[in-house]
């Protein structure tokens, strides 16, 4: 990194470890105090365990605190977990709930400032700076992606194009005409954008675009390679969730080897998803985050349902912030098929391992005579299509073999016409479950 590119907001990224741990402990005590004083659910749970905020003497005492889970947010809908009076809450966001009520999250001005700070540091970590033209194609609205990236890019001093999601033709026109150098959106939407650009005769590799900040859904390294080659850009993974703050909880750096967690604000733990027991550093498990500085809605030991591991080694980029491995799967993404756990990411890596298959697929679950069936729809691309039946049957067999081998159970593969799997402008819908009803 050249010194001129260093953004002052990134200073905490390089804090010596002892200083960072002390800062975390001070803030942890503060946030536990705040939650115990203002959030009834947390106060009652602490009392049940016979704990008081004074019992937090060291960072390791965090493991004594109760977890917060997603259903806590649903059960207390809409404002039950707020720790600030509404007079101090300046923004509300909500998640698009797939079942019933959404979950609502709140921000004081101080919370928004923290969010902007971590987003500035995130974008700087991806090599974006003043002078860059940022196309923000995350959806603006209740979803945190749009506004989170927007204010971060603005505070960084970059030029922001608040185009939001959708209208792919216009996105391509703007990218080309406005000489966009960086884009923020979901990885699946960017792949869609690349495809559409190709159809319109626009080669994105020839445009000034050089960086993409992709998040809001799990994606794989194979998808990254595809995006980087087909788009002629560097693709960075950003992680966040609205319950914690939105995008900007963790992000990759120039090393692209794990995501640095902004742990001066978000304290990470890895626990066994079944038992909730803390796991040793380096072990894979469920990511649990405590917001160390949040005012309006402190989250104590929030179960993210994301599966990852903390990386013990220090990073080549020089940041002292701990890294986590890229999220490839979530505990609630898991499909249980005939008693076997299947993750969409496993299916994706199997498909990608077969030569020439682009990641446009969909998993359809059905029940036939009481038995669960899984079928993977795979779009036939011009690269693999042949006039000979034998070549297509061979492709089908290779896909079936790769899936059987990866998953350890028999699933169906169906080749479908290109563009027949619906493209999403936000998070890709990879799994259609028709087993009930």
């Amino acid at each position: 990194m050249t010194p001129s590119r260093f953004h002052p907001a990134s200073a905490p990224d390089y804090l010596p470890l002892a200083q960072m741990r002390q800062l975390q402990l001070d803030r942890l005590r503060g946030v536990v105090e705040r939650a115990a004083g203002h959030v009834e659910l947390f106060r009652a749970r602490l009392e049940q365990r016979g704990l008081t905020p004074a019992d937090i003497r060291g960072l390791e005492d965090i493991a004594r605190l109760p977890f917060t889970v997603k259903t806590d947010l649903r059960d207390t809908y809409p404002f039950g977990l707020f720790a600030s009076p509404m007079q101090e809450v300046v923004r509300l966001h909500a998640s698009s709930g797939t079942t019933g009520k959404p979950i609502v999250v709140a921000y004081t001005q101080e919370d928004l400032d923290v969010w902007t700070n971590v987003m500035v540091r995130s974008l700087a970590s991806c090599g974006i700076h003043r002078g860059d033209i940022v196309q923000n194609a995350y959806g603006y609205g209740l979803f945190t992606g749009g506004l989170g990236a927007h204010y971060g890019a603005e505070a960084l001093g970059a030029t922001v194009i608040p185009i939001s999601g959708g209208n792919t033709e216009r996105q391509i026109m703007v990218m080309k005409d406005f000489k966009v150098t960086a884009i923020c959106c979901t990885p699946s939407y960017f792949i869609h954008l690349l495809e559409r650009a190709g159809e319109l005769g626009v080669d994105v590799r020839e445009l000034p675009l050089r960086a993409g900040v992709f998040g809001a859904e799990p994606w794989t390294d194979s998808m990254r390679r595809h995006i980087e080659t087909a788009g002629g850009i560097r693709a960075f993974d950003i992680y966040g969730l609205s319950e914690i703050i939105g995008p900007g909880v963790a992000v990759e750096c120039c090393a692209q080897n794990g995501l640095h967690i902004f742990e001066d604000h978000f304290y990470p733990e890895i626990v066994d998803p079944e038992t909730g027991e803390p796991l040793a550093e380096g072990c894979e498990g469920e990511l649990v985050i405590t917001t160390l500085s949040k005012q309006a809605m402190p989250m104590i030991r929030y179960r993210t349902r994301d599966i990852t591991a903390l990386i013990p080694e220090t990073c080549a980029c020089g940041r002292t912030l701990r890294r986590m491995r890229r999220i490839s799967r979530r505990t609630d993404d898991m499909i249980i098929l005939r008693g076997i756990n299947v993750f969409p990411s496993q299916i994706e890596s199997a498909l990608l391992a077969v030569e020439g298959t682009l990641p446009h697929y969909q998993i359809v679950l059905t029940r036939d005579k009481g038995l669960d069936q899984l079928e993977v729809l795979v779009e036939v691309t011009p690269e693999v299509f042949s006039d000979q039946i034998g070549a297509l049957e061979k492709l089908h067999d290779k896909l079936t073999f790769a899936l059987d081998h990866t998953l350890g159970l028999r699933v169906g593969v169906r080749l479908v016409r290109p563009q027949t799997i619906r493209r999403s402008e936000g998070k890709a819908q990879r799994v259609i479950d028709r087993r009930n009803g």
Binding site: V380, T381, P382, F385, S386, D387, Q388, I389, L392, E393, H396, R414, L415, V416, R417, P418, Q419, T420
Partner: protein, 145 residues
Amino acid sequence: MKIHQLSLFLENQPGQMIEPCRALARAGINIRTLSLADTRQFGILRLIVSDWQNAAVLLENAGYVVNVTEVVAIEVGDEPGALANLMAVFENSAINIEYMYAFPFGRQDRAVLIFRFDQPDAAIARLQAAGINVVDSVDVYNKVS
């Protein structure tokens, strides 16, 4: 010598044929002949049309994967033994026929066979040496009255 054949990927379910046919009809492109290969899941529609370049573009724009393959058209007499005599040309050669289909040419007592060879150039050389008429693309794409 070789002519261009378009292949389309279709799913094996009702209603898949009408859309490409309509697209060609709207553009005034004539289908000279076709063959539909099927498997349980999918099919490949192979077409010889009057204007293959435009047909390929419009089918691709309609959302199809289109494969352009060079095939060989051979004219034979519409009479017993004609195909057997033709096959004899390839007897004891390593040339393989991947697939073939036939159509009447519009000339009295003649038929045209479309061949997909694994080695089309070797096949053409043998045919010419045997004095067999390999049909020119102009004749196949355009209707002979």
